[in-house]
Amino acid sequence: MTIDTGRIREDFPILHQEVHGRPLVYLDNAATTQKPQRVIDALVRYYQRDNANIHRGIHQLAVRATEQYEATRSRVASFVNAPDPRGIVFTRNTSEALNLVARTWGDEHVGEGDEIVLTVMEHHSNIVPWQLLAQRKGACLKYATTTPDGRLDIDHLRSLITPRTRVVSVTHASNVLGTITPVSEIAEMAKSVGALFVVDAAQSVPHMAVDMQALGCDVLAFSAHKMLGPTGVGVLCAPPELLESLPPFLGGGEMISVVREDASTWADVPHKFEAGTPNIGDVIALNAALDYLEELGMDAVREHERDLTAYALDRLQSFGGITIHGPLDVDERGGAVSFSMDEAHPHDVSTIVDGHGVAIRAGHHCAQLLMRHLRVPATTRASFYLYNEPREVDALIDALEDVRRVFGHASARSAV
């Protein structure tokens, strides 16, 4: 099955607008994706028909809301082939999921002199929680580097893993380089020293079929808003036994069993990790996003993005004066394409491109370590999703020509 973007784009009302008098070309999907009408309808339906607080209510609305909320949990588990729905915790976003693991598992199992292995291409959300843990515990952080062509240097990663390694946490797909990492291989390295293996799947689960058990990771984290779902929902997946062994993260309503004056006992997982009223409406709407993705098929999504990425890499390379950061082989990468233009800073590129209705991102992409590693202050990034079309790549290239006109003009003049 292939993706018919003509039909698909009908489902995304936001795409049918003009920006600065030009049709919107949305190429900032690594930051967040747009939502199909079906997801918006799910929100509307929830608030117009079923809204109630969950878990404790006996009345009809509470029963309906609870059943729909829990249905998303089961659906998420099967979407990534997690071992058990009881191992699915809804957080605000990927960042919170990673913090949860660092706070609970980390504080229990990481001690002075222990090692946490990351990579230089991690998003800040997969760095800072571990830094804070390392500071609390006197542990140390090690970063695997990348190869000159932008892949993960797996030999370097292997050399960092020692018997003192307690946590290995890596991104499954880089939000800057696009690089897909060999997660199963890393899983074995982590397992061989008994380290917890965490995968930041924020950029993989939305774009390809991910089977958590096949990957062999202990923890998988991702965000609904990057996969057609609403903002405000993150997912933490782990085996329920792992979660059961952890101390609580946030305290409050819903996560307790018995509260006494001096101490309390905890509810069963996953509720133990969902303190207070959850983001019920958005969790329920996530189910509609998963519906949408499953109907298309994640393999078709992957194939579509691979083709589009190949086309984009091609056009950028033949444009000239552009450095592409990350692998050029589309089998080793996802659809986030970062580049630098000789004549202009990424922010200037982004401003001019925006003037053409083309939304891309410029900056450090929450990956300052990688920027330093690449020796660039920032990059320009275009990132694709299932509704993007080759003509949108063309629109980007046209806009880049305008960047060259504005900035090239200046250099021509200054040469006079």
């Binding site: 922010h347 401003t351 003037g355 305008d402 200046a410 003049r413």
Partner: protein, 151 residues
């Protein structure tokens, strides 16, 4: 290729691009009496300013930094503007420059060439690029080097 509705020439005035390509006063000052640095965390622009203040006058200014055309050109142009001015005048210019950008006020004649940045006020995501130099300069005017070394 159709011409876009947005008038980039308003933003990227020739004078700005010229200062971006050929920054004035770039470097450091060994005998700096005042120093400050600033970072725009949302975009990564960096500006470092050295000053020699004497007799309540800005004798010299030099800067280093990296970032977009707006952040670097504005620092360059500010350095041109305030060199030789009294500290109180330098503060005044800086303040009026910010008023134009943030409050959207008509440029005061006192800010001279800096009025080239008036177009930035319409590009909300870029205002911070232009105010970075002003903020670091204000900071530098208050930050004697000796106090920093002592502290």
């Amino acid at each position: 290729m159709p011409v876009p509705e947005v008038q980039f020439d308003e933003l990227y005035r020739e004078l700005i691009l010229d200062h971006y390509r050929n920054p004035r006063h770039r470097g450091t000052l060994d005998d700096a009496t005042h120093h400050a640095e600033g970072l725009n965390p949302t975009c990564g622009d960096e500006v470092y300013i050295d000053l020699v203040l004497d007799d309540e006058t800005v004798q010299q200014m030099a800067f280093e930094g990296q970032g977009c055309s707006i952040s670097q050109a504005s620092t360059s142009m500010l350095s041109d503007m305030i060199t030789g001015k009294r500290v109180s005048e330098a503060r005044d210019i800086t303040k009026k420059f910010e008023d134009m950008l943030v409050a959207g006020q008509e440029p005061d004649p006192e800010i001279g060439d800096l009025e080239a940045f008036q177009g930035v006020a319409k590009f909300h995501a870029r205002i911070k690029c232009a105010t970075l130099a002003a903020k670091v300069l204000e900071d530098a005017l208050e930050s004697p080097v000796s106090a920093q070394r002592g502290g």
